[in-house]
């Protein structure tokens, strides 16, 4: 055979192979980091949740206004004493490997979350004492104590269902090849590279899935990510930085939408965690002074161009649990100075630990300037994130700059931080009144009653100032004009059902 003949044959084959593939619709989503293991039980990184949105459906989902709606489950019913909840499952749901989703599978999953070594879900649903299989499509969760926020936990990774058969076969290597019940089936993951999913033919809601293939591409550099969106390499990017918004808005082919986040940026202060807690922990007036010397509105304007929202509470002003009677206070330098004098610390000096992350570094500089005007000398000490968090646990800090990504249920934003034995209470703030309020709020199902309790908690927090809340981000999602049907959610997760590519 001559060379030209051979070449033509090869080209024809290539076209034949590429042909049908070219007709496929592909959605490429840029991620800000590389996800960790793709196993809902041990995954911790936020970006993992974006990938799970394609592969792993959950028992329930949450709407943009934080209502719990059915996904793999169709409904729930609390027992009158609040110590158990009965969940009804959707019939006819299959996992990617063909196995059926039934009550037994749910029991397997919850057990796995509770018992697998290294599980990060245990602390989220640890109150589940046992799981009962009532019938093939009904499950009852028995709790050690009433816990209303449990359902919210089931709208995230703790509620994701994986195929028991695949879990047994892959063991702890499951994270390298997840098998769940979501709209897309896992195809491949290039190490530190793209993660590919293909449309699952037997998806329970397949009528709502319009895109054939989805690819998640981790690109850590924001300039590179933005450039890829503009060039059409990516169709969507998540958590766009405020400094990049102008470029997207100027481009007529692109769109960007922002939603206030569920979490907050804050500075925990050391009150009683070791000897370094004495400086700020001994007199509440010192802490109040620091709080009063900060002008949150100007901070957000200067560093973020007003794209973010000034905040003073542990939920954003857009949340139904925000206490509107206690809005962000105006700055009052004179009062701050007075409080410091009364407390005997007119020349207060303390150190703020900040990780080398640009948002917080810039904000820290602004804070430094603001506090200086009240006579407070704040020294900025940069530490790597891991080091800072470790020092936080140990109590080797006076103040550090961190954030909380937020949870759909208000309990998830506050309980573990300010209760006396809270796992993440680095300040070691302990107020029995607070504990009582927050525990009660866990048992009460009525929204209005819960809000009353949380309002009281907010009042105490604003008075005691164990931590300083500063701002809430807006979660910005940038996407090409070709993407239609996108509804932004406060958790920033891109839900793939209903999306279309024109």
């Amino acid at each position: 055979m001559s060379w030209t003949r051979l070449l033509t044959l090869v080209l024809a084959l290539a076209v034949a192979v590429a042909g049908p593939a070219a007709a496929q619709t592909v959605l490429r989503i840029g991620l800000n980091d590389d996800p960790d293991a793709l196993d809902p039980t041990i995954s911790r990184a936020y970006v993992g949740r974006l990938v799970f949105a394609a592969f792993c459906d959950k028992l329930f989902d949450v709407t943009p206004d934080l209502k719990i709606v059915p996904q793999l489950a169709t409904g729930y019913e609390w027992a009158s004493d609040g110590r158990s909840v009965t969940i009804k499952l959707r019939p006819g749901v299959k996992f990617h490997d063909g196995e059926p989703l039934n009550a037994e599978a749910v029991r397997f999953n919850i057990d796995r979350h509770l018992t697998m070594p290294g599980s990060f879900r245990k602390s989220e649903i640890g109150e589940i004492k046992s799981v009962e299989v009532v019938n093939d499509l009904t499950v009852r969760l028995n709790l050690s104590a009433p816990l209303v926020p449990l359902l919210a936990a089931l709208t995230d990774r703790a509620g994701m269902m994986i195929s028991p058969k695949a879990a047994r076969e892959l063991g702890d290597k499951f994270g390298t090849h997840p098998v769940c019940a979501g709209p897309y089936r896992f195809v491949e993951r290039v190490a530190q590279g793209k993660i590919v999913g293909e449309r699952f033919a037997d998806y329970w809601d397949k009528g709502n899935v319009h895109i054939d293939r989805v690819e998640f591409v981790p690109i850590t550099d924001s300039t590179a990510r933005l450039a890829s969106l503009r060039s059409g390499d990516l169709q969507m990017i998540e958590r766009v930085s405020p400094t990049d918004l102008a470029q997207i808005r100027a481009d007529s082919r692109l769109k960007v939408v922002g939603v206030p986040e569920l979490g907050y940026q804050m500075i925990p202060l050391n009150l009683a965690n070791g000897p370094r807690g004495k400086l700020l922990g001994s007199d509440v007036r010192v802490r109040q002074a620091i709080d009063l010397a900060i002008d949150r509105e100007t901070l957000v304007k200067t560093v973020f161009n007003d794209e973010y929202i000034a905040g003073n509470q542990w939920v954003s002003p857009a949340s139904p649990y925000y206490d509107a009677r206690l809005p962000v206070r105006k700055r009052d330098v004179a009062r701050a100075r007075q409080l410091l004098k009364e407390a005997g610390q007119p020349n207060l000096a303390f150190t703020l630990i900040v990780p080398p992350e640009r948002d917080r570094q810039e904000a820290a500089l602004v804070l430094q300037a603001m506090l200086a005007e009240a006579g407070i000398t704040m020294t900025i000490q940069t530490q790597e994130n891991v080091t800072m968090l470790q020092n936080g646990r140990k109590g080797d800090f006076e103040a550090y700059f961190t954030f909380w990504s937020g949870r759909p249920d208000p309990d998830g934003n506050i309980f573990t931080f300010v209760t006396c034995n809270g796992a993440q209470n680095d300040s070691k703030y302990c107020n029995p009144e607070m504990d009582a309020l927050l525990l009660k709020a866990r048992h009460v199902a009525d929204l209005a009653e819960r809000k009353k309790l949380y309002d009281q908690a907010t009042e105490i927090l604003l008075r005691d100032v164990p931590r300083i809340h500063l701002w809430h981000r807006r979660v910005f999602t940038g996407f090409s004009g070709k993407v239609q049907g996108f509804t932004p959610h406060p958790d920033g997760i891109i839900r793939l059902r209903g999306l279309r590519l024109s």
Partner: protein
């Protein structure tokens, strides 16, 4: 000294060197505050989960035992797994190494394309302004901070002119054109640094060769100067240049750390930096061992070439 003896003596010295490398890396990592379990847990603190991770990866064992466990697995070909993603380190290495090798090859090509001719010129016309300019050019290449050059090139070619992608990487089998486009700027950045070194090596080797007897003979026989320089001298000068180039190549492989970071190239350098910041011990151990091994091996090859070449060079009288 005979060749086989030389080779075997050097080969034997390789093993203890690599051993020390692995011990040093291990110790260096232990110095870092925090550990992988905490790095993984991040803002979400769950003591039980953190403890379980520590147990799984033997982080609660005494250090010499941890090292022994790692070494034992290594001898069976198991490099361990990434604590963050659970992907086997061997898979990470084999998928990232070709990327860095491609980057190193392209950088080396650019370095030679610039360094060789400039070095030859500088040697052929010593003391002239050309030699001075060549020297300055070489020094500039050596002196420029890589990451700054990278940022400047991105600003010019990607942001302002839009000719090349700002960053990212496309494998050659996916789209060769895009692959070359993504690798061009980083190769230029790394290549200019090595170009300076190569130019100086070339100049030095050429100067030695040009002073040799057979060159004088050729000149005496009225062979045109151009042919003397480019045909005869260069061919012999190339040998030491290549051996020294092998070592530079090894260094390129080891360390395109910042360049890969800026251009978002998923290669060895990025794997290493991410591993250090995530405290992913197995990843860092594996990557450092492999790149040190390559560097050592290439130096070894360079040494042998040099040894082979020298007697012949001196024996040309």
């Amino acid at each position: 000294m005979s060749l086989p003896l030389f080779v075997s003596r050097r080969a034997v010295a390789l093993v203890p060197t690599l051993l020390v490398v692995s011990v040093l890396t291990f110790c260096l990592q232990q110095l870092l505050p925090g550990d992988p379990a905490l790095a993984l847990a991040g803002e979400e603190h769950d003591p039980a989960a953190v403890a379980a991770i520590r147990k799984r990866y033997h982080l609660d064992q005494p250090l010499p035992l941890q090292y022994g466990i790692w070494m034992g697995k290594l001898l069976r070909g198991d490099f361990g797994e990434s604590i963050r993603s659970r992907i086997p380190v061997r898979e990470l290495i084999t998928s990232k190494l070709p990327v860095t090798i491609e980057l190193a090859v392209c950088s080396m090509a650019i370095a030679l394309a610039i360094g060789l001719p400039v070095g030859v010129l500088a040697a052929a016309r010593p003391g002239t302004p050309i030699a001075g300019a060549a020297n300055l050019l070489a020094l500039s290449g050596l002196s420029v901070p890589h990451f700054w050059l990278g940022i400047m090139l991105i600003l010019l070619f990607a942001v302002r002119l839009g000719w090349l992608p700002a960053s990212g990487f496309v494998p050659p089998w996916e789209d060769l054109g895009r692959n070359l486009a993504t690798i061009l700027l980083p190769s230029v950045v790394l290549g200019t640094g090595v170009a300076g070194v190569m130019m100086r090596h070339t100049r030095g080797a050429m100067r030695e060769v040009l002073g040799a007897d057979y060159v004088r003979t050729a000149r005496a026989k009225s062979v045109p100067e151009g042919r003397v320089v480019w045909k005869h001298a260069l061919r012999n000068a190339l040998i030491p240049v290549i051996t020294l180039g092998a070592i530079e190549f090894g260094r390129l492989l080891s360390g395109a750390v910042l360049t890969e970071q800026i251009f978002a190239i998923p290669g060895f350098g990025k794997l290493l930096v991410d591993g250090v910041f995530n405290r992913d011990y197995a990843v860092v151990q594996g990557v450092v061992l492999v790149s040190a091994g390559l560097y050592v091996f290439l130096s070894f090859v360079g040494d042998i070439l040099y040894f082979l070449v020298n007697p012949r060079l001196r024996g040309s009288v």
